[in-house]
């Protein structure tokens, strides 16, 4: 069951989706600003929902699937809002807010009726590590959405069949820059997150967990996204090919977040 703040954030995300979608259909500056405001409101309420939960478990939500997914959604919203303000581009908002609404509704089904028992205390460095890694995943999820929109827009441009949405979507150049910004944020967060995780593990066990499948896959994620950033500047790959690489890379993130966490790792098995 979601708490009151979660319901409120779901309602605000849904309202922001309606406004973003409406703006996509019929541009209106004030409605666009309202959409941003509603999104910011949803993020704020979501923060308080996470805070309430964290106070119950005495740590950031990572140990159960619901808490982890909720943190992921919140960081996705934060990253998107940052990019929207930085690039002054709202037309992707409809996709991101829809993703958040679906995600939060799904969370409503997954949410346990009681707050789970607190996991073993790991300290602030561990919390920092988990938060940054989740942030990296949500930034990669955002770049995935942006890359899909890029591929769609590119395909319409090539087919010469421009529909209504075509004229409203951001330009290819803007999508490309937003996607790279998002990946850059994700890589920075992941690099710092992994480093802090290594430091924490070394303090605890006196060794680095190089052999853990989660670490291996995470390093693979770092490699594929760095490769994307490099390829996206080359003659042969810049444009739709790079967007495709970025979209495919997200499969590795999903694999890491689901199968690796659930079945392969011993060190990172939380839920």
């Amino acid at each position: 069951m979601l708490n009151h703040m979660s319901y409120l954030s779901l309602a605000l995300y849904a309202a922001s989706f309606v406004c973003y979608a409406w703006v996509l259909y019929a541009p209106n500056l004030w409605l666009g600003r309202l959409a941003t405001l509603l999104m910011a409101g949803g993020i704020l309420c979501h923060y308080f929902a996470l805070l309430e939960r964290s106070q119950g478990t005495h740590t950031i939500p990572y140990d159960d699937l619901y808490g982890s997914m909720s943190l992921f959604a919140w960081l996705l919203g934060v990253t998107y809002l940052g990019l929207e303000i930085f690039h002054r581009q709202r037309s992707v908002g409809a996709f991101v807010s829809l993703l958040l609404v679906v995600w939060m509704a799904l969370l409503g089904l997954l949410a346990p009726h009681t707050i789970p028992a607190p996991p073993p205390a790991h300290g602030p460095l561990f919390a920092f590590h988990v938060t940054l890694d989740t942030w990296a995943y949500s930034a990669f999820a955002l770049s995935f959405v942006l890359s899909l929109v890029y591929l769609m827009q590119d395909s319409i441009l090539r087919s010469h069949h421009a529909g209504t949405a075509f004229w409203r979507f951001p330009a290819l150049d803007v999508l490309d820059r937003m996607s790279r910004s998002s990946v850059f944020v994700g890589l920075a967060a992941l690099a710092v997150g992994v480093t802090s995780g290594f430091v924490w593990a070394h303090r605890l066990t006196g060794s680095y967990p190089w052999g853990d499948p989660k670490v291996v896959v995470t390093l693979l994620i770092l490699v594929v996204y760095v490769a994307y950033l490099l390829l996206s500047r080359t003659v042969r790959w810049r444009g739709s090919r790079a967007a495709l690489v970025c979209a495919v890379n997200f499969a590795v993130v999903l694999f890491s977040y689901t199968f690796v966490n659930r079945y392969f790792t011993r060190f990172h098995r939380f839920f």
Partner: protein, 456 residues
Amino acid sequence: MATVSKPRSSSAGAGPVRSGTRIQIALIGCNHRTAPVELRERVAFTAEQALEAARELRRQGILEEVVVLSTCNRSELYGVAVESGSEVTEAMEDFLTSFHKITRAELEGRTYRWVDTDALRHLFRVASGLDSMLLGEAEILGQLRTAYGQALEHGATGPVLNRAFQGALEVGKRVRAETEVGARPMSVALAGVKLAERVFGNLKGHAALIVGAGAVAEQVVEHLRNRGIGNLRVVNRSHDRATELAARMGGEAVAWESLEKVLGAPDIIVTSVANAAPVLTRGMLERALSVRGGRPIFVVDLGVPRNVAPDAAGLYNFYLYNIDDLGEIVEQNKRAREAEIPRAEAIIAEHISKFHSWRAALEAGSIVDDLRGRFREQREALLRERLAEMQNVSPEERERLAAITEELIERVLAEPAQKIRKGGTMRGRLGAIDAVRHLFGLDVPNAKGSGTEDPE
């Protein structure tokens, strides 16, 4: 473009709302659908002529409020009539013919005349761009704003046209904001530029190359210039022609032989060359893309036969649109705009209803005043008549009698006034107002006690 400030009160402009007759907007005009350009140019109004016409129409007592709208596609006179129905549009047409010194026979079947709701609906359709030659074009809204602003400034409008034109400006804005009627490019040149924006986003600072020359290519350049394009180069077989074009377009002329050398620089290429073989081959464009580090190139090929080799279309990060592609997009956009007409009409209907509400409230107020005036006249006549026969009534008693009958009038009027103002639906209220006017003879323009006010 003139800005229009709202009048301070409902009685600003030509004068207060008339009492005694139904408030009616009348319109006469001709447009691109009803009259050829030879006739339209003869009935067009300059800004000065529009003011003079408005002044004359009011001075001659044909109209109380006037706005003259004259563009290259239409000449229209909007007014609030002293007379009603067809009489006023007859008088307006007479005025139009005498003002422009043309015969009525020349205007026969070339004009349209509307009154009341039809006139208002026409005004709102004009503001929305639904009556324009190019469906949904935005320029008309600015022209309407200017025409109204000028009339307002010179006191030619009054409460009715103020309300109608402010409504029209709002309708125009809403239709463009809430529907697709005004969206999407409707010309080949603009479609090309808008497509380039789908690739590069803001075109400010981007480079363009114009190969050859043609009317559409020049239009493309104009749109690019309006968007702050940075570097502009012009290539033509005749270097003199290239220099002339470059000077006119504000660009730099490049020799025909250097075409391939400069091909790597521009983000947007517009070709319009009369040549049997393609001017830009796949090989040339491949090399250009390589020089650019894979950054995309957007090409608008306006040449027939085509100036860009068809096999170049498959190049990576190369977006090619020829004249047929752009024509097809313009057609798609036209269909999309037409599909939006019902939504625009719904907005218009909503604003017509708002106008009717406002008018009904106004008329409800005026009809009670008219009735009061009529009853007072009757009372005074009756008291004069009867008291003349009663010699023994003192002045105090006469005053008392006058006060009692005055109170009686107020009591009699209280209930109908309440019902007309607040009761029932809009249609019902308007019907009740019409019925009262008819029953008490208030719809006769020069009926005793229902005199109209001189606008001057």
